[in-house]
């Protein structure tokens, strides 16, 4: 009973304290640093023109109340522009709801050839978990996708699932998250660990990820923070490419 009372007290104290400021989420995200370099991005920055493609499923899209696009790819473009003055940044999004990694993988080589991006951000995992795709098939799709993007002259950044506390007992994402981490490690691909970042936000009380709401304000802030963190990771990973270090601000 005392424990329950303590728990309720925690709820009352912690409940209203969601940070409104824009830097809070960046600090609370902790150390978000790339493990590997992005040489094609570094070369593109040196040439003052950076083309990025985001391929993903429904969580790469978000429409605001006025119909405006407020999803993280848009925020990524803005943040990259701020971090890389003088570089022409373009971000194109191919987001298709319910699409699995295998289905995306089949489109990747075409995208690499057509748009010739220096970087492909590949957001996937949730649709596979919902459909119960064999984690082995998921892993193979990731490996094949990275191979075809490499052959097409693009770097890859993986983005894993969102942290969704309400559906945690219903949707088993761990096997897919582990597969992604493993492929990232073995293929030396940068992993943007959205799952861990959002978990940390939840623990620190930066965002209320439990709320049942139709409003897009929290979703908008989450996407804004994700876009800015992703931009930071991309630029840092480009700097890891020593040959181009001097060209990057």
């Amino acid at each position: 009973m005392r424990l329950l009372a303590a728990a309720l007290a925690c709820a009352l104290i912690g409940g209203g304290a969601f940070a409104k400021d824009t830097e809070g989420c960046i600090i609370a995200a902790g150390a978000v640093t790339p493990d590997f370099a992005l040489p094609h991005v570094a070369a593109a920055i040196a040439k003052k023109r950076l083309d990025v493609v985001v391929i993903g499923s429904a969580s790469s899209e978000l429409t605001g109340p006025s119909g405006s696009n407020i999803a993280y790819p848009t925020r990524l473009a803005v943040a990259l522009g701020n971090l890389l003055p003088g570089v022409a940044v373009k971000v194109a999004t191919y987001a298709q709801a319910r699409e699995t990694a295998g289905e995306m993988e089949r489109k990747l080589s075409r995208i690499a050839v057509q748009s010739k991006p220096a970087l492909v951000v590949w957001q996937t995992g949730t649709a596979d978990a919902i459909r119960g795709v064999d984690p082995d098939d998921f892993r193979l799709a990731l490996e094949d996708g990275v191979d075809s993007l490499r052959a097409g002259g693009a770097d890859t950044v993986f983005m894993n699932m969102q942290y969704s506390p309400r559906t945690e007992t219903m949707l088993a994402v761990d096997a897919y998250g582990d597969a992604m981490r493993m492929v990232a490690l073995q293929q030396e691909v940068v992993l943007f660990d959205r799952l861990a970042i959002m978990k940390r936000w939840n623990e620190a009380g930066v965002f209320d990820l439990y709320a049942a709401t139709r409003k897009t304000d929290v979703a908008e802030q989450v996407h804004d923070c994700l876009g800015r963190l992703l931009a930071k990771v991309v630029v840092e990973a480009a700097k890891l490419t020593s040959a181009y270090k001097k060209d990057i601000p």
């Binding site: 303590a6 459909r131 969102q162 506390p165 309400r166 949707l171 978990k199 979703a219």
Partner: protein
């Protein structure tokens, strides 16, 4: 593991099965700080291995005796009756799961999670989903263990028949099935796609190995198990597995794992009972048997009584644990997800499991005494 004399129940089996039930309960509550005490964070194998092995052990112990004393037909009929009970328990749990998920689908809305809401799509096709669930093809998250048991037990009568007559041949056949499964990628299909999370063709190896030990195999292995060399090798392997497991959780440590080792080791396949997991369970068993002898008087102490009670009613307590993990997580989402609440939910859940096990024991005693009813078989029910 020394074999207990007929009629004498090895309390260690109940103890460790009870502990495994608690760990499974804790592991099934996501974002729970008490998850960190469970063994899956410190090595390759987890509570599932303990549970499957002990279930095989006790199934062989109880039904093996029935087969010798009352014949193949009676023993098989009893095994299949048990299988049916587990199937009914699984369907019951599924009904509870449906109730929870339907409630969440109706009340939760958030533009951030439009994609995750996709898991409710199956509610729109109950005609297909319910039939697939009854066929054990559609299995919600965390509800994969009972279907594994259903298949293992359904296939157990012929296996037990061989085990009683030619234990080595049975173990060999089980190993062969495991190897063929790895070679040809056999598994049962799942709905809407993919395969069973716990592949019964692979996990049967642990169940049959447990059964083999329960029928006297442990005695044959005694020299090997008790050898100091085995003990040292087991401890070294546990330390190695623990070091590797730490690299999964502590950022930066994974760079210390050599690439050749990563390439050789990963993925550690839970679905198909990776040999690294099997070996990890074996090492744990060797160390445990050494540290906890059967005659250890502390086994009869009041302190271990709660875990032993739970282990003695494993089916009921397992189901309760799955339900409590849903309910506990639901309470965390609806009320508060803070650390105090996580600890409260975990502790209250385990208390509920122990209380229920005590209640079932009480019922058994009362019903055993009442006129007209038969006392239960000497071994308590097995899963």
């Amino acid at each position: 593991m020394p074999v207990p004399a007929p009629g004498e129940r090895d309390l260690r089996l109940d103890l460790f099965r009870g502990l495994a039930l608690w760990l499974i309960f804790l592991d099934h509550i996501p974002s729970n700080i008490l998850n960190w005490i469970t063994i899956r964070n410190y090595g390759f194998s987890d509570a599932t291995e303990i549970f499957v092995f002990i279930s095989g052990y006790t199934a062989a112990f109880v039904y093996g005796r029935a087969m010798r004393e009352r014949g193949v037909v009676v023993a098989s009929a009893r095994i299949l009756k048990r299988t049916w009970q587990i199937y009914v328990a699984h369907v019951f749990l599924f009904a509870i799961y449906m109730a929870e998920i339907s409630y969440v689908a109706a009340t939760f809305e958030n533009p951030l999670y439009g994609e995750e809401m996709g898991i409710f799509d199956f509610l729109r096709q109950p005609d297909i989903t319910l039939v697939q669930a009854l066929l054990l093809k559609f299995k919600p998250a965390n509800m994969d263990v009972l279907p594994l048991y259903i298949v293992l037990l359904a296939g157990f009568p012929p296996m037990l028949w061989i085990l009683v007559r030619a234990p080595a041949a049975a173990l060999g056949a089980s190993l062969l099935l495991y190897l063929l499964t790895w070679n040809f990628g056999w598994n049962l299909p799942a709905y809407p796609s993919g395969y069973w999370v716990f592949n019964p063709f692979a996990w049967q190896l642990l169940f049959v190995f447990g059964a083999w030990c329960g029928l006297g195999g442990a005695k044959r292995l005694a020299a090997l198990i008790e050898s100091p060399i085995t003990f040292v090798v087991a401890v070294l392997y546990l330390v190695f597995a623990c070091a590797i497991a730490l690299t999964w959780y502590i950022p930066g440590l994974d760079h210390f794992v050599p690439k050749w080792l990563e390439d050789w080791m990963y993925p550690i396949d839970k679905t198909n009972l990776d040999v690294l997991r099997f070996a990890h369970f074996m090492a744990l068993a060797v160390v445990t048997v050494r540290l906890v002898p059967q005659q250890w008087t502390f086994l009869n102490s009041l302190w271990l009584r709660p875990a032993i009670l739970c282990g003695q009613h494993s089916l009921e307590i397992f189901c309760l644990g799955v339900f409590l993990s849903f309910a506990g997580h639901f309470a965390m989402v609806e009320i508060n997800e803070g650390i105090a609440m996580q600890i409260a939910v975990s502790v209250l859940g385990i208390v509920a499991m122990v209380a229920t096990a005590a209640l079932i024991s009480w019922y058994k005693r009362v019903e055993g005494r009442s006129p007209g009813s038969r006392p239960g078989p000497p071994g308590a029910p097995t899963l």
